[in-house]
């Protein structure tokens, strides 16, 4: 097949392209997107994807709130986000068209299945009249195909029911799009064969539809709009690659961390909540890697079980989203008081309260760093990309076990579902930081601190002659027994603070992600905004602006050189998907007049949001 794609000299070249597949929940847009992604990857292009499921579990067909979409940004260079604006919109029905049209570039291409634009669907989508018949789409390139019929024809030989045939429409569309960008179909054909191994007829029909879509592009006498493109390969480090979502990154990173620490078992205790549940689901099938998952009765029980597991010498991990993390607050205090290693993963979503559960936000930073009763410091980390989720998870395990402290990892609803290519590390190249449980009774007391780290010893119940009692009441610095002594409390409060502050000496110095280490403007971000900021700064720099990108992965404690780094710029701008939280912490720490660029729409930053803000300043 490969030949067919090369055989067309007149293909234009595009550095990168943004496609959104949109249709009814039942139209299979998610698989269509994933398969397109895979072919993109196999062809050596870079990509960034983001699915957009409906908020409702299963909305009535044809309704606007039932629209399911999948966006992919792919190309040779500059692919750092799923893309601000869409180049090609595939709209399988009228609802998809209304919902998604806003994001289509003026002059962009929209491909529709004309058959789906019938009376019933139009009314459901709220169209008074058919937008394909008037000039309401004048500003776009509209490609109207009767995909329903074309698919039906292509699968006829396989004698499917019309319902079954209808379900092949997405493959036809996929075939067409693969042709448009000169990609192969082989991997998709394999996948279909595997997926429908038990129903070869269905497999063959889908393959037929796929090929028909492709052939349609190849052969159909061209409307001037249906053009083929080539997209250059990405310059990436050689190696074996795969697609990774933030959820997979965290799950695999935790397993990698477990092994790096040489801990036998991970007890992951969670209570379902959007968008955190995915992590529970992913880990639930990793039992063979030493993972025990526990679905608790609520979030308090979940963190309680994780803490109990940590007390017993396992890696204790719990995960939730804002409202559920809030419920864990009291137990986090106990983890801090008893100085046990515990990992808490927060997949942030829009709030307050239930808010918009399916929308992403970065608004739990205050809660993570400061949101507890009393002086209760702990470590807070935030991954920057789906791939970084893997590394951050490992780092969280390292810090938790080395410093005997709870660690909060701030992910979000965007990272949870987004996906990017990932160069697969081999376990041999991963860090190693074996823990050593205390076994020697000589001079033991449970709060005896390591001079360097101030960490207390980790003892596994079951160890002879180390029997001891710990709890939430203040403990004597020297004996570990309950103590109400005023000076001891001051000393312990300071020790807890110093221990966390000390982590700063055990983490990398803050680096500059892009640009000079000094200048007019530093754009400082954290978490999932990495791609958007990076790209925006790159654009601004290409425009000759004096701006740099600094991305903070360690939010408590901050890297020890952060003040110096920031003070080398005249201005500091802090884009956050919240109403201004990191900016406050920076101001409080360093008295730097950092300015906030808040975005609280529940949607990730668009590159242009940030680029515009930069242009206003430099």
């Amino acid at each position: 097949m490969a030949t067919s794609t090369i055989s067309r000299p007149h293909r234009e070249t595009r550095d990168s392209v943004v496609i959104r597949f949109a249709g009814d929940s039942g139209d299979g847009m998610q698989v269509t997107g994933s398969q397109f992604t895979l072919e993109t990857a196999l062809a050596g292009s870079d990509f960034s994807t983001f699915p957009d499921f409906p908020a409702e579990i299963r909305a009535p067909t044809g309704t606007t709130f039932g629209v399911s979409a999948f966006q992919i940004h792919f190309g040779g260079t500059d692919v750092m986000t799923p893309g601000d604006a869409v180049d090609v919109l595939v709209a399988m029905n009228p609802a998809a068209l209304t919902v998604e049209l806003n994001d289509l570039k003026v002059g962009g291409t929209v491909i529709v299945d004309t058959a789906a634009f019938n009376e019933r669907n139009l009314t459901k989508a709220g169209y008074a009249k058919n937008p394909l018949d008037d000039d309401s789409l004048a500003r776009y390139q509209v490609l109207k195909f009767d995909i329903t019929k074309l698919t039906a024809d292509s699968v006829k030989p396989h004698g499917l029911s019309s319902r079954e045939a209808h379900l092949c429409r997405n493959m036809w569309a996929l075939g067409l799009l693969l042709w448009m960008y000169g990609y192969e179909r082989a991997a998709t054909v394999d996948w279909l064969k595997r997926k429908f191994a038990k129903k070869p007829v269905i497999a063959d029909a889908n393959i037929a539809a796929l090929n028909a879509g492709h052939a349609f592009g190849e052969t159909a006498e061209m409307t001037e709009h249906l053009v083929g493109y080539t997209v250059p390969k990405a310059e990436v480090r050689p190696g074996r690659y795969r697609t990774i979502s933030g959820t997979e990154g965290l799950a695999w990173g935790l397993v990698a961390g477990l092994r790096a620490a040489g801990i036998e078992k991970m007890v992951f205790a969670g209570y379902p909540i959007t968008p955190a549940s995915a992590l529970l689901h992913t880990l639930a099938s990793l039992r063979a890697y030493g993972v025990v998952t526990f679905q608790a009765e609520d979030e308090i029980a979940a963190i309680g079980a994780a803490l109990g597991a940590a007390y017993a010498g396992s890696l204790g991990v719990t995960s939730s989203s804002g409202p559920g993390i809030a419920l864990k607050t009291e137990m986090l205090g106990l983890a801090i008081a008893t100085e046990l290693p515990l990992i808490v993963i927060d997949s942030q979503r829009a709030g307050p309260s239930t808010g918009m559960p399916t929308k992403a936000e970065q608004s739990d930073l205050f809660q993570a760093v400061l949101g507890r009763n009393a002086d209760a410091p702990l470590a807070v980390l935030a991954p920057t990309t789906t791939a970084d989720c893997f590394d951050i998870a490992i780092e969280a395990v390292r810090i938790a076990t080395k410093f005997m402290t709870p660690v909060i990892v701030l992910s979000d609803g965007y990272l949870a579902h987004a996906a990017e290519p990932w160069r697969i590390p081999s376990e041999a190249d991963l860090p190693r930081f074996p823990v050593s449980y205390r076994t020697d009774p000589e001079g033991f007391q449970p709060f005896l601190r390591d001079h360097a780290t101030l960490a207390r010893p980790w003892v596994k119940p079951g160890t002879p002659r180390l029997e001891h009692r710990i709890g939430g009441l203040e403990r004597d610095y020297d004996s570990g027994h309950i103590s109400y002594d005023p000076d001891n409390h001051a000393r312990m409060t300071k020790a807890r603070a110093d221990k966390i502050a000390g982590i700063a000496h055990d983490i990398p110095l803050q680096a500059v992600a892009l640009g000079e280490d000094h200048g007019k403007l530093a754009v400082v971000g954290w978490g999932s905004t990495f791609g958007a900021i990076q790209r925006a700064v790159q654009i601004a720099r290409d425009e000759g602006r004096d701006v740099a990108h600094i991305h903070v992965r360690y939010l408590s404690p901050f890297p020890r050189n952060l003040a110096d780094v920031l003070k080398r710029y005249d201005r500091v701008l802090v884009p956050e998907m919240n109403n201004g939280q990191l900016v406050k912490l920076i101001r409080a720490e360093y008295l730097i007049d950092a300015q906030s660029l808040p975005k609280v729409t529940g949607k990730p930053f668009r590159v242009t949001d940030i680029a515009q803000a930069i242009r206003k300043i430099v």
Binding site: L42, V292, A305, Y311, L334, L430, F444, R469
Partner: protein, 336 residues
């Protein structure tokens, strides 16, 4: 910190005591419970290093500090959740949950429900003094109606929950009741609870001398005990009375228990595997005798046993690379 030296010699009750000064009020029923637990430990020769006492917050919850085993004094009401995590991490450990009527049935009621339902292999001991001791005497969910307390100066108007009835409703498979002052009986019940795999729930009527003194006297008082208690034993007739002259039977054709002469033909024989009977016994209240002993015991595999049995199916994988390379991957050669 205590470094308890292990000798081959038998461990005596005192060997289960930590070096910490016991800080309950003089005369508190908790002392008797501590004594009974240490005695039971010695009689069972529990290994201190394998034993963990977990508690929430309350006077009762101070318990772990006084044992020479491992101990975790956690937060109010959550001990069952923490204990579940401990068992998931290491099913080999012998884990006890020491809780109070407020800790276990007020703030902690939900965790109690689920740990019993899941049947996690824990020995749960609930010190029921029908009051919040540590916070200085407010009424609790087990306090009788009319209880005057700092938060109910005019008397409580809430219906108390019955600890054992609740536990049975939650699906508990071992439910027993005893009394702080009846050492022999209490030690026996604790040993039964420990022998039971899965969650064992033991309610102990405990006297709070400061805030609820004598609330159990009508049941536990030396002179009335014989008439006011029926000590249930599996397979034995449900007789009671100072001279064991009375007994319980099923009122014919009904679902109610009634008192008859011990000599009666149809005296009910205790079957601790019979849940409806356990529910009737748990619900007994004056003028009928209060049921003491193992009301219900009907073992099944514990939660963590099944967790590991299910895991057992899966062979442990040692190869992380296999995991990371699962599903579709692709090779990128040197850049063009």
């Amino acid at each position: 910190m205590t470094v308890t030296t292990i000798t081959d010699a038998q461990l005596a009750p005192k060997d289960y005591a930590s070096d910490q000064e016991v800080r309950w009020c003089p005369g508190c029923g908790d002392y008797a419970i501590l004594k009974a637990v240490q005695k039971a430990c010695a009689e069972m020769q529990l290994q201190r290093e394998r034993t963990v006492f977990v508690s929430g917050i309350g006077c009762a919850a101070r318990f772990p500090y006084y044992m020479s085993t491992y101990g975790f004094h956690t937060v109010h009401g959550r001990a069952p959740a923490i204990a579940t995590g401990i068992k998931l991490a290491n099913p080999e450990l012998d884990v006890w949950v020491m809780t109070g009527d407020g800790d276990g049935l007020s703030i902690g009621g939900n965790h109690m429900l689920h740990v019993l339902r899941r049947n996690v292999d824990l020995n749960i001991v609930l010190f029921n003094n029908e009051i919040y001791g540590l916070t200085k005497g407010q009424y609790s969910p087990t306090s009788r109606r009319g209880t005057r307390s700092p938060s109910t100066p005019f008397g409580s108007i809430e219906n108390p929950v019955s600890a054992c009835a609740f536990a049975l409703g939650a699906g508990a498979r071992f439910v027993a009741r005893s009394i702080d002052t009846q050492q022999a009986h209490l030690v026996g019940v604790l040993k039964r609870a420990h022998a039971h795999r899965g969650a064992s729930f033991v309610e102990i009527l405990q006297n709070c001398v400061v805030f609820n003194d004598g609330v159990f006297d009508p049941i536990t008082g030396k002179e009335v005990a014989g008439e006011a208690q029926v000590l249930v034993e599996h397979g034995k007739p449900l007789v009671f009375g100072k001279t064991k002259d009375k007994a319980l039977r099923l009122k014919p054709g009904t679902l109610a228990l009634e008192v008859v002469a011990a000599t009666a033909a149809d005296v009910l024989v205790h079957d601790e595997t019979n849940r409806p009977l356990a529910q009737l016994l748990a619900a007994l209240e004056p003028p009928l005798p209060t049921a003491m002993g193992v009301l219900y015991c009907n073992p099944m595999e514990s939660y963590e046993h099944d967790v590991y049995a299910q895991r057992g199916a899966v062979p442990a994988k040692t190869d992380l690379d296999a995991l990371l390379n699962s599903e579709r991957t692709w090779e990128v050669g040197g850049g063009e």
